[in-house]
Symmetry: D2
């Protein structure tokens, strides 16, 4: 799991590129959007320029957004989409070695996605070595390098040294991510060819696993499983504003009257008027988004309450994701 709060300096970052694009209002025209059932797939090719603006690397990003994985049909649909989208990123021969890397800490539930996926991966590299592998199955190896705090070794160094030894043609790295918006937690899978930073946190020495550093293509698959308290508060204030503006504008619209569970203010592209903002939130309403986030962070951090939180059902959710990701990768490599 990547630690998103820089200990040295103020920094509010997200692991999700789609969030960065939204925050920076990068034009939607660049995002290729499609749907499968109620799953939304957004693909975007970030160029050098946009990358600089949103502090993300150049490359391809696919964001899969879904509602629910408690239902087995929904899980099947998600697997279907995941297989299809992942295949876009993979271009290798059957006997090329693929190394699947499960980042994170198996002993910490919200951070255990990577290692739990590794438990599901069918490995064949050792069978290839012995010439006893069915050649219809991709040559696959899989490791879960744990986290630096448990091994004392930079995760990058572990992976790099194994890559140098077994020389895969492709690395697939899986990790839990941090979202900067409540709406993304456990509802999004991000795929990218730009690599990944396994989080060390301490001293912030994070070495990226990417084509640039290991000279082998890296596909990173991440699911945000935690969010910080700052984002929860920031999001809520925005929902509050949207609800207020929407209510004011529709005060005479009978359709929207009376329904307590009216959530139309979210679906609509509700505009928030500057005046409304100040009316509702006073001085706080005068802040820009960035300033507001900074204020919340500065209030919570010194007193230790900018907690990284996860939902209380995380055990079941992680198990579901591990199965979906494991099945999808096995399917791609066996068919």
């Amino acid at each position: 799991m990547k630690h998103t709060v820089d200990l040295q300096k103020y920094n509010l970052r997200t692991d999700l590129t789609i969030e960065k694009l939204e925050q920076n209002k990068i034009t939607n025209s660049k995002i290729k959007k499609s749907k499968y059932k109620d799953i939304i797939i957004e693909t975007v090719n970030i160029n050098a320029n946009d990358g600089k603006i949103i502090d993300k690397k150049e490359g391809l990003y696919t964001t899969i957004t879904f509602n629910d994985t408690t239902d087995s049909d929904n899980r099947k649909n998600l697997e279907h989409v995941l297989v299809r989208e992942l295949k876009q990123y993979i271009n290798i021969n059957r006997d090329d070695l693929v190394l699947v890397v499960g980042l994170g800490n198996i002993l910490s539930t919200p951070d255990s996605l990577g290692p739990k996926v590794i438990d599901k991966i069918m490995v064949t590299n050792h069978l290839y070595e012995l010439n006893i592998c069915d050649s219809n199955y991709q040559r696959v190896a899989a490791i879960a390098p744990s986290v630096t705090g448990k091994t004392g070794i930079e995760t990058f160094d572990q992976i790099k040294s194994i890559v140098d030894k077994i020389k895969p043609k492709l690395v697939i790295a899986i990790d839990s991510l941090a979202a900067s918006s409540v709406s993304r937690v456990n509802k999004t899978i991000q795929i990218t060819n730009t690599g990944i930073n396994p989080g060390s946190g301490i001293g912030n020495f994070r070495k990226e696993i990417s084509y640039e550093t290991i000279k082998i293509p890296v596909i990173a698959i991440g699911i945000p499983t935690v969010v910080d308290a700052t984002s929860i508060v920031f999001d809520t204030l925005n929902y509050m504003l949207k609800k207020y503006s929407f209510s004011k504008n529709n005060i005479n619209n009978k359709k929207y009257l009376l329904t307590y569970n009216n959530i139309n203010y979210l679906n609509k592209d509700t505009k928030i008027d500057t005046k409304d903002k100040q009316m509702l939130l006073g001085l706080v309403g005068k802040l820009s988004n960035e300033e507001l986030k900074k204020l919340i962070y500065e209030v919570l951090s010194p007193i230790g309450y900018n907690l990284m939180v996860t939902v209380k059902e995380i055990d079941f959710i992680i198990d579901t994701f591990a199965t979906v990701l494991g099945n999808s990768i096995n399917k791609i490599f066996s068919s």
Copy 2:
């Protein structure tokens, strides 16, 4: 774990009596406060009148507040306090049977405290039956009845039927709780002689385990391990106000100047001026505490974001608490 959000109607409740007292500004004179190292112990005897105000039962409540349990010395201190305080609640003979009940779901980390404590409890009831138990050790039995959603049986009914069968003289029930303030999560142990409600949530049929319902004294031990998003946002807005007021009042105090990590606004009994409130938060600043919580709840709930959350380190924290509670109970019954 008790589900604190009533699905049928608006309701913001907390499992912690100390929070209720604070929210309702019940005079501190009734709370007996002491310290051991940096652990704070607050004991209060709620009478019928106060009980009605704070919607809590008459009886004795002890709240133990601590900072940190990662350090082994701190854990030992906490065990020391817990043993001492629990003993105040226990008045039985050595061969009286005690039934320890671990409520909650072992498969859900933040809700697994009860069952994990049960794994640590030394049971002797079966040895007493065979007359092979060292009589210096209390007669103890222990069960983890799981949750209604996993058994299909009301947890109360399970416990009641076993109580009727083995006829203990005392029941000790352990459960994870929900806090309504971030500052309480994983930092508080509540002991009470008023009983406990194992959460069913569904349809809200919760049957209380207490002296009134099972005719045997019940000591409930609870630790808040989750908090809802509403409370996080509410708390943050209050911290924001306190910081704002404090800064304004100390604008010329060189001592408080410049320090980014200044958290004095929390320690001081910072008064929040009504004008400050409206200045900083506009219309929102005009709301009473109750109204503000209600507003946040109404914004988050319909869109599914009033999440019950837990910190990402919950696995380690629960293991620590299970050890501390298990050790303490075993110590009381073996010495």
Copy 3:
């Protein structure tokens, strides 16, 4: 798990009725035998007389024997057979309550079958109570009462008190068993309508869960997951004898010559000649089966080596069985 070795007196028992029948050479004519793929199903109705001989209760016993469950097709076949055979034992209405009881200790792998099956069971009793259950699904509750050594309570007493409270029309009890033959370990499922004894071991006070004791039909499902060292040695000496006799008789049969992996001596109904026995094993060869077992037991027990053992792959095997049993029970109650 039932402890099969009586600590007070010499006693070599098995939990499997089919083994008892084999040991006592009860005529095969009473056993109804069928096959599905390579799974063998043997059903026998033990009458009072035979029951006395083999020290088993009167009633119906179904023994399902299979080779391997590592293959997913084999698992599906086993599920198919299990569903079909279990249905023979079940005769209730859809809204009759069924209580599934998972006996054993979740913390001890070979004894964790029962609790792990419970984790898979779909429970509906609480939904029926609220009138929100799809009436196509059987009314089901499920408990894992753990073991007396962990609760201090007789397992029978726990179950009886819950049965009295919720009044099911049928109890299905699942437990790990002990086999008295290596060939049965993890290769057999026994179903019976005669009930089951959860093992307490200590002092040997085991109270049976059966129609006689709880006044409700009980179906017991057991899988042998352990075997004692005595049985391993006894079996091996017998295989040795069979191999010796077979080799002697086929010394001139070119077909059986030279093959190291010749296991025909097992498939054939190899007769062991009394003279061969004494030739090969001396004084030991003069002992009856019962005497030989007694001798091995008397050699191993005093020195603490009559270990209850399990295979080293038991973790994966238990998980497989829990899934197969859970799926089968859910299928029966949902279709």
Copy 4:
């Protein structure tokens, strides 16, 4: 865990050098024997010649034999001995890096010792890198490379590549072993400076981790947690013989009469007479030890019953060993 049964050819091996010495009757004069409470410590320096005889490498071997680890005093005594003995093998500076390697598969209980010890090890290498480590604590890193069947990578290759990268001055490797005698299972810790072979089994390509292969001193710590059925049967026949001989010789010794639990035949250096052997066991009694083992193996293996077995309490035993080993290693490196 090392797989001890060679699939290609007949081979009965043990991971324990002390067993090999006993089997080959190497003179006791070379073994330095001491006691601490009821723990026996045997140290032997195997030279080239003896090594050839017993098929073990030249080097130092320490065997610690104990009875029981269920008692906390016994565990403390074992830790005391382990710390003292391990220190004999370690000769490094405080800031020299030590790499602790936990071999085996966390998902298979009897094979999970290595990874479970790793979970207990305090690592500091990353703190040294940042110059924030208390220099009284040894520089330590720790990895659990899992098993080839789960990673697809030769375990040796994983370790070698990490060793090349982080350049430790000492490797401590921990693994579950196979015993060839029931009396050794879970009762012995072997320490050696000769290295270790992580088991791959498949195709039998096992690359040794030792000074010869990685050019860094390797201390291997192993505990036998499994034994094969062949050894159980072989041991039992020998106990049978000893009991028979002892009984015959003491037939007139009133002291040994009548006691069912008489285990003196084990304590005494009971001689087995060749005639007794044949009398008791016929043709089987004429076989040498090696021939008898071979016979048992040839009977059991083709029919799939030369199972690798473990005791049914293995879950608790492994947890105890992991704690004892983890504590001991941490103690050595922090004091």
